[in-house]
Symmetry: C2
Subunit: 368 residues, 2 copies
DNA sequence: TTTTAGCACTCTTTTTTGCCAAGTGCTAAA
DNA sequence: TTTAGCACTTGGCAAAAAAGAGTGCTAAAA
């Protein structure tokens, strides 16, 4: 390496470094003109071309073809890594965060879901997902309402600790006034800010009814229905916000020709990575529903997921729904196999209850 | 559904089912000719075409374009799932296996490695991997040797419990005879079958030397060197076989234009999924080496991984190497960032030792 | 009445062709 | 030693042409 350093003039090093860094940034061959214009190298393109020709001869650069710019060769990268790369700083402010992330512990249920997802993906050879609802971890800090028209309004919810602001349009079967809506906002903030999903009960709702009636002076009917349809939306939102979704085997998508089209693949993957859409799609399913659900193509699903099928089932442990597991793949998936896998998995999981799952006894860790 | 069933003649159902199943298998539009020839439908293609036209009118089939075959519509899939799909059997012989997989527990070290891999991938936006050596879990059931020429022979190792058979060619700096090699085989089976990596010690090797000398009657030198080079290969193989490798963030590859070429992407992903090649590439690295290793392009690496760089570092916990962590990405990766991430991670992990990692009070499985 | 063979037609896919832009290497001048 | 200028090469792209696949329809056969 020090041998290399002696051989290369400072100008060659400068140019080589510039080329490598430009190429790292752009991912494309770098031409002489680009270096003078964008990388502020104070030589003419001709001079740079000469230097580049020599660097190529020395093995540090390559040409994909005659009329392309240069790209670094492996030797070029090696030289860059060994002597040109700017010293990086080991200490960042995230170091503390890092420690937390590293020693992150999962709950027993999360582990079961994780394992189930992995197994499901491995057995079916499609992408698997698991949903873990945790709505009680979510509270709404502040509510706003916006009157849209006499039969609909918008709730804006600002959750505690989460960045996202959630809005939901509520359509009614009866007529309301802007005053009703602003009264509703007062009642919501008074009663539901800082309350989690478990805190919403009949008692609270009745009290909200009374307050709202007092504020708008209207009849029982309207106040009651306004409160109940609003609370329903809030409930749904908390469910959405409090859900965690995990995917396993995303790369298996690649095997199917429907995703050979890079556009579709990208779309699918970004849908998956966004998570939000999928959470919305699956978290509306009744949690106490025991059937296996099949969403084919656009049926009820997120628009982007046309051409894909989602098969989905709630998982029970000790009689309680702990989450759900699903398989995503092309519409033309092997339904028979997927259905049987999901059924088997959910059955085996429900059997886990008595054994080592929740009670967890004393010696937690026993290496398989 | 039962409505649908009444409307469709048996022949239509037969054809619809055949089309859907053919499409599920092939992923391409299905033409009338294919059905007669490959799916054994006993009508002429013209008849089938007529039926297909009607099925299309009813909404069960679609044409991507005039001159393509038919594909099932969403309604078609729905009908298939609801009434045509063959009953799947919930009980398979794997049910027992399943239970094991589901309640699979990870050791503390595995968790740390897992978390580290996730964090590394998230921070760098490349694919991360972790290697967990566990050679002591491996034993060789049976050894065979094959004489190649006077300076090399082949060891064939049949491991316990693993399907793979491993072969390794051993090159020597001295001359041997076929008889030497067959004697070696006897000694190996006598002393090393069922022994794991921890069981190989000086004492055992000396005893093997003595036995071999007795069998071939040659001088000290040859017996000793033959045993030592053989044991070295066996040692390496056990290391390879006993290593587990995990990947995280494979889909991040998609973001980089070098993998926009689906061929390259496929190659890369299948390399990753094969695992073997990568294990071989990284498990030869000296385990006690503390430096960050950088493999650029074809340097020392698996052939298929041209155009990609692997950055790799051993992780220590309580002064002991517990595994390794790495990043895979295009050659033009952001070296500075990756290097700093890996260094930070390894540093944080080594700091974990005093805290919650190993001591973990009573309930720890003693990990290796 | 139902089924089948045959053929014209449509639309996609693949191949071919020609052109343009990008970037180089070289020569001659500064 | 550096720079300007120009001929040359080559990949990428778009339009045009050719090839292939499968349909729908008509008319004959069962």
């Amino acid at each position: 390496m020090s041998f290399d350093e002696q051989i290369l003039s400072d100008r060659k090093k400068l140019i080589l470094k510039a080329i490598i860094e430009a190429h790292i940034k752009l991912g494309e061959p770098v031409g002489s003109k680009y270096l003078t214009q964008e990388m502020d190298i104070a030589y003419s393109s001709a001079t740079i071309r000469n230097e580049m020709a020599e660097l190529e001869e020395l093995g540090y650069l390559e040409k994909p073809h005659t009329s392309a710019g240069r790209i670094p060769s492996e030797l070029g990268y090696r030289f860059y890594v060994d002597s040109l790369v700017s010293q990086y700083d080991t200490k960042t402010k995230e170091a503390g965060e890092l420690k937390k992330l590293l020693s992150f512990k999962m709950s027993e249920i999360d582990k079961i879901l994780d394992n189930a997802t992995k197994v499901a993906s491995a057995m079916t050879n499609y992408t698997a997902l698991s949903l873990r609802p945790r709505p009680s971890s979510i509270t709404i800090k502040k509510y706003e309402t916006v009157y849209i028209d006499s039969r609909s309004y918008l709730i804006i919810m600002i959750p505690q600790g989460v960045e996202a602001v959630k809005t939901k349009r509520v359509n009614l079967s009866f007529e309301i006034t802007p005053e009703d809506v602003s009264a509703l906002s007062k009642v919501l903030n008074l009663n539901l800010s800082g309350v989690n999903v478990d805190g919403i009960n009949i008692h609270l709702m009745m009290s909200m009814n009374a307050q709202l009636k007092e504020l708008i002076g209207s009849d029982d009917q309207i106040a009651e229905e306004l409160v109940s349809s609003t609370v329903k939306s809030i409930y749904e939102t908390m469910n959405e916000l409090g859900s965690e979704i995990k995917f396993e085997g995303v790369n298996r998508l690649l095997e199917y020709p429907e995703y050979k089209n890079l556009d579709k693949l990208q779309k699918m993957i970004s849908t998956i990575e966004n998570k939000e859409d999928i959470i919305r799609a699956v978290s509306t399913i009744d949690q106490s529903d025991d059937d296996t659900k099949i969403f084919i193509g656009s049926e009820n699903m997120v628009k982007i997921m046309d051409d894909s099928t989602l098969i989905y089932k709630n998982l029970k442990l000790n009689g309680k729904t702990i989450g759900a597991i699903g398989i995503i793949g092309p519409c033309r998936m092997d339904y028979s196999k997927v259905l049987s896998t999901i059924d088997q998995l959910s059955e085996e999981i429900s059997k886990l209850s008595d054994l080592n799952a929740l009670p967890s006894a004393k010696n937690e860790e026993s290496d398989e």
